[in-house]
Amino acid sequence: MKLSRRDLFALAAGLGAAGLIKLPAYASDDAVEAAIKKFAGGMPKTGGVDISAPEIAENGNTVPIEVSAAGATSIMLLAAGNPNPGVGTFHFTKMNPESRASTRIRLAKTQDVVAVAKMADGSTAMARREIKVTIGGCGG
């Protein structure tokens, strides 16, 4: 069975609720690093994870974001500059055609989003991507 993107979106949204992460009420680099290490058991190598998101958010309250990592069994998503950086963790069973998930997140300000993947063989990988949240209004 081939899932459509729409199905995947619904699936991802359902999965996203499963694994919320508890972190302190403020975000610091330390808190983000601690969350990554706790999830991955150390600092993962960079690469092997794709984050698809707009360079500049059209609406910081609902920013579409898609993460994928070939062969991942789970991907954790963090918004490194939010008061609470934890967004969620997507878990992929063998029934998933690919390890890819989309959701929408709220970003308080310009910041990096971080995706950390755990692979079936136990290895880990991560990616970072800056998303700008801007006032706007003067282009043209």
């Binding site: 993107r5 729409r6 979106f9 698809s52 707009p54 360079e55 500049i56 059209e58 609406n59 579409p64 989309s102 310009t110 700008k132 801007t134 006032i135 706007g136 209004g137 003067c138 282009g139 043209g140």
Partner: protein, 563 residues
């Protein structure tokens, strides 16, 4: 495909024939008062496919004056490269001589004197003559409109773009893409697009609910036995730079991965020539060309740059065709065995006194304007100074607008958006109501008056500066720096966001702006729904009428730091 080295050799050979030297020839002829339409249009038809590019005309149906920027700074990989050179440096880079018509068309050097000598530029009846000439050489030439076509004049505003739709339909474009078109609101865009006989392309326009394509991404044409794919890319930051509430269910963005998919798709469909009709802005197009293989030609729009030769990035030619109807680009391509084997290019300056108007189009243009003739012609005042807008930090038109905002709304500080559209006016010219609209016509014109803290004003300045000077082009929105009245500042474009703007000073007292203090700020073109205040064009008219004659002094309140 050609190897990169072969391609470069081909391109240099081609530009040696029709690039700089071809340009220089007609320049000399003009200096001897012998410049004719034939020389402007002279072109040895080459290869099997011809592309004609017009972009960012901003609804200027009639010939105008248009001064190119004297300051156009590039950062990051674009620093010091075309189009980020201006004035004498631009002339030097392209081997052009000041005083010649190409120097007049392409640079700000001696603009007023050159304008008096060579006259106005653009006009759709002249553009029609050029198109007819090209089509007589190559009847199946593809005519591609890069957008910002339905917006920017009184008649476009009052007819919600209908005047431009009528005139463009007569010129029969093969495809278009968009930006300001969407500021008429989604219902009006849909109404027009449903009636167009050519595709309205935007690979990067998505339904925001399901994140699925909302418009056609591309069209494949058969020209000269070649399958030509034209992919459209609308302005990526429409919902941020313009009021997103006017087209609430659409999402845009650069969407590089989507572009990669569409390029792969059209190649799979057999396209031998892939053309990107883009409203990305030049630096974004340059980055996209570097990162995405498979695009042969990018017809670049949005940032209003005019370059006499294509910029070559890997195997991609990037063409920049200026704005306001001042130029039409012709690109002939030799496409064989699935690849581009050679090209010839000419950026044709639409010198209105040299190119004969097409009477049919003159009549059509006049018919669009006739219902508004009295309004258009109303003389409101006079200017003793050159009024222009283009440039990174300020222009005399915007200085005048800021003065009007400060006085009419009794504000401490005025903010005027750094738009790149709006023609120039020469010293001694009357200022008509049409001229005021050509600098301000828009569907969200209300002039607000509100209180802002010094800290918030600084945040705005930093935010806009980062939209212009972020070293990564994908984070740039185009446009120029917000224009400021009543306040001076220093800018260091090499710094990161938060550190570029310093020494903000309230000009009327000479005191430093206090982050905690509240100031009265007036501005226009707010993207927020429900902004209240008089329309900017009415406010400017009142101010100019009261002044009678305006005279602008050089702006010394914006200072550049760090070189």
């Amino acid at each position: 495909m050609l190897s990169r080295r072969d391609f470069l050799q081909t391109s240099f050979a081609a530009s040696a024939i029709v690039g700089v030297s071809g340009f220089g020839n007609w320049a000399k002829l003009s200096a001897q008062q012998k410049l004719t339409q034939n020389q402007l249009l002279d072109f040895e038809t080459t290869g099997n496919v011809t592309l004609v590019h017009l972009t960012d005309c901003h609804a200027q149906l009639k010939p105008v004056w248009f001064r190119e920027p004297s300051i156009n700074i590039g950062v990051g990989e674009a620093a010091g490269k075309p189009p980020h050179i201006s004035g004498e440096a631009f002339l030097e880079a392209y081997g052009l001589t000041s005083g010649t018509p190409e120097a007049y068309a392409l640079s700000s050097v001696d603009f007023v004197a050159m304008a008096q000598e060579y006259g106005r530029v653009g006009g759709f009846d002249r553009i029609s003559t050029i198109l007819k000439s090209i089509r007589s050489d190559r009847p199946d030439a593809l005519f591609l409109d890069g957008g910002d076509t339905w917006h920017g004049s009184m008649t476009a505003l009052k007819t919600q773009g209908q005047d431009m739709v009528n005139v463009m339909n007569a010129l029969k474009p093969d495809a278009m893409t968009s930006h300001w078109e969407f500021t008429y609101g989604i219902d009006r865009v849909t109404e027009i697009v449903d009636g167009l006989e050519f595709p309205f392309l935007g690979a990067n326009i998505f339904d925001s609910e399901w994140n699925e394509p909302a418009y056609e991404s591309h069209k494949i044409f058969e020209r000269g036995g070649v399958k030509v794919a034209v992919i459209g890319q609308a302005f990526p930051y429409l919902p941020i730079a313009n009021p997103g509430w006017m087209f609430p269910n659409l999402s845009f963005g650069i969407r590089e991965e989507r572009m990669r998919e569409v390029v792969d798709q059209v190649r799979a469909e057999g396209a031998e020539l892939v053309v990107l009709l883009s409203h990305n802005g030049f630096d974004v197009d340059r980055k996209m060309a570097r990162r995405l293989p498979g695009i042969d030609v990018i017809l670049s729009g949005h940032t209003h740059d005019a370059l006499p030769e294509p910029v070559v990035v890997n195997d991609t030619l990037i063409v920049a065709s200026g704005s306001h109807g001042k130029f039409v680009s012709r690109l002939d391509l030799d496409v064989r065995e699935g690849g581009v084997k050679g090209f010839k290019y000419r950026l044709i300056p639409v010198l209105a006194d040299v190119i004969a108007p097409d009477p049919e189009l003159s009549a059509l243009v006049d018919a669009q304007r006739a219902p508004f003739a009295e309004d258009l012609a109303a003389v409101i005042g006079k200017t003793e100074s050159l009024l222009y807008r283009r440039g990174n930090f300020n222009g005399t038109w915007d200085d005048l607008i800021c003065q009007a905002l400060l006085e009419e709304r009794e504000a401490d500080i005025a903010l005027s958006p750094g738009f790149r559209w709006g023609p120039s006016l020469l010293p001694g010219q009357d200022i008509t109501r049409e001229d005021i609209y050509s600098a301000t016509a828009m569907t969200y014109p209300n002039v607000y008056r509100s209180e802002m803290t010094g800290a918030f004003i600084h945040t705005i300045m930093e935010d806009v500066a980062d939209n212009l000077f972020n070293p990564d082009p994908y984070y740039q929105q185009g446009g120029d720096m917000v224009r400021v009245g009543g306040m001076g500042y220093t800018i260091d474009v090499s710094k990161p966001i938060g550190e570029r703007i310093t020494d903000m000073v309230l000009l009327k007292t000479g005191e430093a702006i206090n982050p905690d203090k509240t100031y009265i700020v007036s501005g226009w073109a707010s993207v927020n729904e429900g902004t209240e205040g008089p329309p900017i064009y009415d406010l400017i008219e009142r101010y100019i009428a009261r002044q009678g004659t305006v005279s602008m002094k050089p702006n010394t309140a914006v200072r550049m730091a760090g070189g």
